[in-house]
């Protein structure tokens, strides 16, 4: 059984207005916003609550399917950085790849890989709330400040 | 056949008008059990018990 992506209820609620006015349609949209910020910050949130957050899909849905490889590539790269594994450390590289990737699974990730992504997303939400505390109302306004934040981190 | 003492005691316990029908069913059941002729499969027992339970309504005054 593939592990599902997870995002806290608080995080979802933060984007509620955007869902209500149908600027966002997929649960994964909110997850992706948070994930990218977490990856940009290069930190994870390891609290137990992350593992128990409400489940989502176990795969990259819809338009994210085409971007899966790049999201995974960024994720691997950030994880190597987070763990301090140098490019020359072939063994370390091998290990991370072996631990995180499972080509057989829908998401191409192992359960550990999915869990790690969830932890990045959880951290990403914490950082987002700190920097853009107000719940976004219109996506067009949000996008600008979001991109700025990612580039700042 | 069961001894009259058993028959009388059942009739006595189930003497009130709202319990008589139930008492009659129980008496027949007791007689069948005593004669070794009662069905002993779960379904038949449930059917018989259905009749017993369905034969009377609870009233606040029907206790004892």
């Amino acid at each position: 059984m593939a592990a599902p992506f997870r995002l806290s209820l608080d995080a979802r609620q933060h984007f509620k207005n955007l869902y209500d006015n149908k600027h966002l349609l997929l649960d994964f949209d909110a997850f992706y916003f948070c994930l990218i910020i977490g990856l940009a910050k290069c930190k994870i949130n390891t609290e137990i609550s992350v593992a128990n957050a409400p489940e989502m899909v176990d795969d990259f849905p819809g338009p994210y399917r085409n971007q899966r490889d790049y999201i995974i590539a960024l994720f691997l790269s950030r994880e190597l950085k987070r763990l301090g594994i140098e490019a020359s450390n072939k063994k370390g590289l091998n290990q991370i790849v072996a631990r995180m990737l499972m080509p057989d699974s829908k998401s191409k990730l192992t359960n550990e890989g999915v869990k790690c992504m969830n932890q990045y997303a959880a951290m990403g939400f914490d950082v987002l709330k700190e920097n853009i505390p107000n719940k976004p109302v219109y996506l067009e306004a949000f996008l600008q400040s979001y991109v700025e934040l990612v580039r700042k981190l | 056949m069961i001894d009259k003492a058993l028959e009388d005691s059942i009739k006595e316990q189930f003497a009130s008008p709202d319990l008589q029908a139930c008492g009659a069913i129980l008496l027949r059941w007791l007689e069948d059990l005593a004669e070794g002729g009662a069905e002993n499969d779960k379904e038949s027992i449930a059917n018989r018990a259905d009749l017993v339970f369905g034969a009377f309504e609870l009233k606040t005054t029907s206790a004892t």
Binding site: Y70, S77, L80, S88, E140 | M1, I10, L26
Partner: protein
């Protein structure tokens, strides 16, 4: 009558009692109502009685090792009882083996034939039990036991004989029915049902309120929409008066529409772009390219895949370097193989590398530049929309200056629009399909409906369960009461009737039964003489057996031996009335008065009496006398004579010579 047992024949061969075939048939071929079996002490009377009990109730009742029942000159011996129940024939055979100390039962049943083992028809099971069988294959010592409250024979006798235990059977069935019907119910208490009733009532009230609010809000929305339409018409009409303003307004509205569409377009465009992470930040693009490069440099995926190492560890004797593979080495290779990529991992990494090289440009800022361009377009569209809004407001202000009432209309429009948005938000709450509020705070109509249905169901379910429980309790209570009352009544009636019989048996004795519960209680007396005890026991058993709807034979050992001569006549008169078939083992010394009493009653009741004498050996004159009888049988080790005359002449009280 479901139980009507008569003994037809008993057979003994090669056992420690003499060999015999005792046929209890009377002159009409049916089992004779009264049989007197005269067996001197030492002839195996006790053994015969013991074997009879064991034939009915099973081997647990035997007191000696099985081999001891076999004649010491033989290896195998057999005891057989032929009896009928409601005229259906049964045979129980017990085979003893002294070598193996073994005992084997065989049972012959109607329509089944012979089977190995001891099988008792179900209607006879309550009676063919070790403790009950002693009541009808009567042991004189039992008379004392009946008086002993530590032995529960008296009550058990009543319970079994009158089948009071069927009440328990009935109660069990009712309990089982209740359990089965309520196995899925979560509660059977008033507290449980009240909880659900409260919830149901709250939900009902809330549903009512919400539906009311929903209906009112829908009506209100309609009326506001209508009102807004009129206001807008009025606004437009007023503006029309000033054609310049009118044109400006139309233009501004058009601008606003175009700008809104642009905003939507660029918003979607930007959102789609940023789904590819390398577009958001130049750093991300660079890192992804770097990762690919690192894979290339590390020569990942490697040509040696995980499978290679697993195969090596499992199937090869030597490593590729030539080293012999011990089990420790194999395990180490196996464990470490996990650090290497499998062939599927390799395939995916190749795909990943290809995707990256095909789509991620190495040109610095290529992607983020594109994103920035789109963001700029989006911002500009937002500004356009804002400008159009401003233009509309400006026209509105000018219009108000021109026509003050226009301002009022404009304010009214704004107010209505706000109110409309509020109502629409509320309606959305009523119409959605998920809602996590408590009973008092639910808005979703569909969720309320579901919750209310569930609460109603639970109330009904628990109410039904409570009802079932109360019915069960009532039924069981009444059945227990009926059982106890029946038991007491029976005990009382039997006590009274037994006392009447005792007064006939012993008219000059004031011994009487006081009550019957676990044991027989004598009035004003702790116990009686052996004779008194026996008489009381006979009176009790006689009452018992005559009253019950079951008919069992009564087999008794020396019924009058311990009893005074004066009482013997009475006891003798009693015996034929004890049961429909009575078999009494007697010795010659108890004949006096006993036989006369017995014959008198037998004649009065038109009951035939059969006289059988059985003995091992004796003085020659006795044997000659026996041989001269019409009905004389000689076996390997005994003699049997049927007939009253020989019975009365027979004298042999001491141990067989």
């Amino acid at each position: 009558m479901s139980v009507n047992v008569k003994i037809v024949k008993i057979t003994s061969k090669n056992l420690r009692c003499p060999d015999y075939v005792i046929d209890f048939a009377g002159s009409d071929g049916n089992p004779c109502p009264v049989v007197l079996l005269q067996m001197p002490n030492g002839t195996g009377k006790t053994t015969t009685l013991e074997l009879l009990r064991a034939a009915f109730a099973g081997e647990t009742i035997l007191t000696d090792p099985y081999k001891d029942y076999v004649d010491k000159d033989c290896i195998e011996g057999q005891f057989q009882v032929d009896f009928t129940n409601n005229s259906l024939p049964y045979t129980i055979t017990m085979k003893f083996n002294s070598d193996s100390n073994g005992l084997e039962y065989n049972t012959t049943r109607p329509n089944i034939g012979i089977s190995k083992g001891h099988f008792v028809p179900s209607e006879l099971k309550p009676f063919f039990r070790p403790d009950f069988v002693k009541l009808f294959v009567f042991d004189g010592e039992l008379a004392v036991q009946l008086m002993d409250r530590k032995r529960t024979n008296a009550n058990t006798a009543i319970e079994s004989l009158f089948q009071l235990n069927e009440f328990n059977h009935l109660i069990q069935n009712i309990e089982a029915y209740y359990e089965q019907k309520t196995v899925n119910s979560s509660s059977n208490t008033d507290k449980g049902v009240n909880r659900w009733k409260n919830k149901r009532d709250k939900l009902k009230a809330r549903q009512s309120k919400v539906l009311d609010m929903y209906s009112k809000d829908k009506d209100l929305l309609e009326s506001i929409k209508l009102h807004l339409e009129h206001l807008k018409e009025e606004y437009a009409d007023r503006l029309k008066m000033n054609s310049e303003l009118k044109d400006k307004m139309n233009s501004a509205l058009k601008q606003k529409t175009i700008a809104k569409e642009k905003v939507a377009l660029y918003r979607k465009e930007v959102f789609d772009i940023i789904k590819a992470p390398y577009t958001i930040h130049e750093k991300f693009a660079q890192e992804i390219l770097e990762l690919k490069s690192n894979f290339d440099q590390a020569k990942l995926p490697e040509s040696a895949a995980r499978e290679f190492f697993v195969e090596l560890a499992t199937n090869e004797d030597r490593c590729i370097c030539g080293t012999e593979l011990t089990s420790a080495l194999r395990q180490a290779i196996h464990d470490r193989s996990i650090n290497y990529l499998g062939s599927e991992d390799m395939a995916y990494i190749n795909t990943l590398k290809t995707s990256v090289s095909e789509n991620v440009s190495p040109i610095m800022g290529a992607h983020s530049k594109h994103l920035d361009e789109q963001l700029a377009l989006l911002n500009s569209a937002i500004l356009e929309e804002q400008q159009a809004e401003n233009e509309i407001s400006q026209v509105d202000i000018e219009g108000r200056l021109d026509d003050p009432d226009l301002g009022k209309v404009s304010e009214a429009i704004k107010k209505d629009e706000l109110q409309m948005r509020e109502i629409e938000a509320r309606l959305e709450k009523y119409e959605r399909n998920d809602d996590n509020g408590s009973e008092d705070e639910l808005f979703s109509i569909s969720v309320l409906k579901k919750e209310l249905e569930w609460a109603r169901f639970k109330v009904a379910e628990i109410t039904k369960t409570i009802e079932l429980k109360e019915k069960r309790d009532l039924l069981c209570q009444k059945l227990r009461a009926a059982r106890d009352i029946a038991r007491r009544k029976l005990a009382l009636q039997i006590c009274e009737e037994a006392n009447e019989r005792i007064s006939v048996l012993m008219p000059f004795n004031d011994i009487r039964l006081d009550k019957i519960d676990q044991s027989l209680h004598l009035r004003n007396k702790a116990g009686g003489s052996e004779g008194e005890t026996l008489s009381v026991a006979y009176a009790f058993l006689s009452t018992l057996f005559n009253r019950a709807e079951v008919s069992l034979p009564f087999i008794v050992d020396s019924p009058a031996n311990a009893i005074d001569l004066a009482v013997r006549t009475q006891v003798g008169g009693f015996v034929p009335k004890l049961a429909q078939q009575v078999i009494a083992f007697t010795i010659s010394s108890e004949r006096e008065n006993f036989i006369s009493g017995l014959k008198k009653t037998a004649k009065e009741k038109s009951r035939e009496v059969k006289f059988i004498t059985l003995f091992k050996n004796g003085p020659d004159e006795l044997v000659k006398l026996a041989e001269g009888q019409v009905d004389f049988v000689k076996s390997r080790n005994g003699f049997m004579v049927t007939g009253e005359s020989f019975f009365n002449q027979f004298q042999q009280n001491s141990e067989a010579e």
